[in-house]
Symmetry: C2
Subunit: 343 residues, 2 copies
């Protein structure tokens, strides 16, 4: 089944509204979720809907949360996500963050007490569409063991970056700091395929590429061993310790066992590379010249290329969604009787 | 031969002065170079002295440069290193950067037209000793091929991070974004040892672990494949394109062929995690709790542990330096006749 982007957004927004989200929260999440599917980022698109719904229905995340913004210093904005989703909290603070980056040169936004359950690319891309640089990090569910360790302490803790280009959509990367992202482990387990040896450890702490062993009491490992481990420590500190969010290992679902989203911290650093004029007038031209040099050296694929190709395809042909997935969205869009009763 | 730290600093400072550095530049570089040796970071210590001297003697780098500081916006400081070394430029701007981080919450310092030829850890550690977080990046000599490419475009482009701890020296990491640092390739070549397969490519673009093939027209590769490649693109953009420095592939030594240092860009982001009070009073306590959790999960070595152990040892026993190295320092401390003549 091929569905136009807008129609898919509308369907998912209805699902979120039926599960306790306010209109603006549902709109932001639907655009994000359908956008991931449109961009070919299947592990963060419709695949995540049952997890969103389960988390909302048990009360683990608040779909009606109203984030509170606190400007701690001219270049530092802390946001209390009020146990809602991170994307609507970011949507509230986005314009202020961009304006602050332009006036100050750089701004740090630290969101705490918020659930991030999607890709990070959509958080940074719009800043770069406005000519700004953005770096985003989020600490996520506790499922990555430290290098040399035997059990999970960190999240997969992705980092994303976006830079404006000249006559092109922004350059964007978004990557887990573990060997692979959690979604990839789940998809491999579902397909019955093994991952590369050393992708994770089993529950006894032995290296393994078996996705089921990783998911069943095991853990993922940092990419590039001690180097990825160092980045994980940095991301946990920047995300959770500056804004006041939870470290990945502090997430406690007691009483909300069916909750799947992670209530943690997210940090964005937004930079206006042209602030104050100064040394270099043609920032985007410089980015272009770097990419040309890499292309000339034989690099054929750049970060985000696949995503942009999928996006173009989705807009022209529609987004392919299976009947089974559409049925599941339909079923989960029925107001949950238990939750209605609780109200 | 075991030499006390201060005596080694004095010896190296004399060497730098004899090769055209002003007193303050010589002092900063000597402290940095002896400090790397003291901390067991041999690839960035005395090993680099011939490269420093060659670069100074041919006029590729200016040991008497006076950096110019330009505050482009309240949170953005650009520094023109005036073709001098990056460390003295950073020393000039350090106090202002720390003060700006405290008042603004975050500051970005972009140094252009400066030569960084040492480890990055010493650039970030002092900020964390003052309770601040610091991230530093520098793009370096052109010797890393893009993922899937056949020739060098990027530098090894290290990233360093420092965070304050409670009752401990700061947590510091400093790592090349290539599989290994250039110094490790040179040391392996000198020892006649192979590196892991896929550490780099030879001049034909084929994967290799032979350090001589990597150095002889080949290139290193990014760590973790496309993930490290994405970080390299980010670091080149943040270092060179914001401040107006050279990309690694733009370094041109025509007329200065014996120059070894890299005239590029360096970017530091310094954050006051407690700015404006706000969510979390006990920042360093939070860092400690994260590290405790990792230790409890079985992680035994943390970033910087080895460096701190070497440092303690060097202060108590002295720094071990071979007679051959001391002789070479002595010889290179003789004022260069060619250079004196040119003046």
């Amino acid at each position: 089944m091929l569905i136009p982007f807008d129609a898919l957004v509308a369907k998912i927004a209805a699902l979120f509204r039926a599960n306790g989200c306010t209109d603006p929260v549902a709109a932001v999440l639907a655009d994000n979720c359908a956008g991931a599917e449109r961009d070919g980022c299947k592990s963060h698109g419709l695949f995540r809907i049952p997890g969103y719904v389960a988390s909302l229905r048990c009360g683990w995340v608040d779909g009606a949360a109203r984030p509170r913004i606190e400007v701690s210093a001219p270049g530092l904005i802390r946001v209390d996500g009020a146990n809602g989703f991170a994307q609507p909290a970011l949507a509230e603070v986005r314009a202020r963050a961009a304006a602050t980056a332009r006036s100050q040169g750089i701004v740090l936004v630290a969101i705490r007490n918020a659930h991030h359950f999607s890709a990070l690319a959509p958080d940074v891309e719009p800043f770069a569409e406005d000519g700004l640089l953005a770096i985003a990090m989020v600490n996520s569910n506790c499922e990555v063991a430290p290098f040399g360790g035997r059990k999970a302490v960190f999240g997969t803790d992705p980092m994303a970056f976006a830079a404006p280009r000249s006559g092109h959509p922004p350059l964007v990367f978004d990557q887990a700091t573990s060997v692979v992202a959690n979604g990839e482990v789940r998809l491999a387990a579902r397909r019955g395929e093994d991952l590369a040896p050393g992708t994770g450890i089993d529950r006894a702490g032995n290296p393994t590429g078996d996705p089921k062993a990783i998911l069943d009491g095991g853990a993922l490992l940092p990419f590039a061993g001690h180097k990825g481990n160092a980045l994980l420590i940095m991301i946990e500190i920047l995300c959770a310790a500056i804004g006041g969010g939870r470290f990945s290992h502090e997430i406690d679902r007691t009483g909300f066992e069916s909750g799947q989203t992670a209530n943690t911290g997210q940090t964005l650093i937004v930079i206006d590379p042209t602030a104050g004029g100064g040394a270099l007038p043609d920032f985007v031209g410089r980015v272009e010249s770097l990419l040309s040099a890499a292309r000339e050296a034989g690099q054929e694929r750049f970060p985000g290329d696949r995503r942009l190709a999928c996006r173009r395809d989705s807009y022209s042909r529609g987004i392919e969604v299976s009947q089974e997935t559409m049925d599941s969205i339909e079923a989960l869009s029925q107001t949950d009787p238990a939750r209605s009763h609780a109200r």
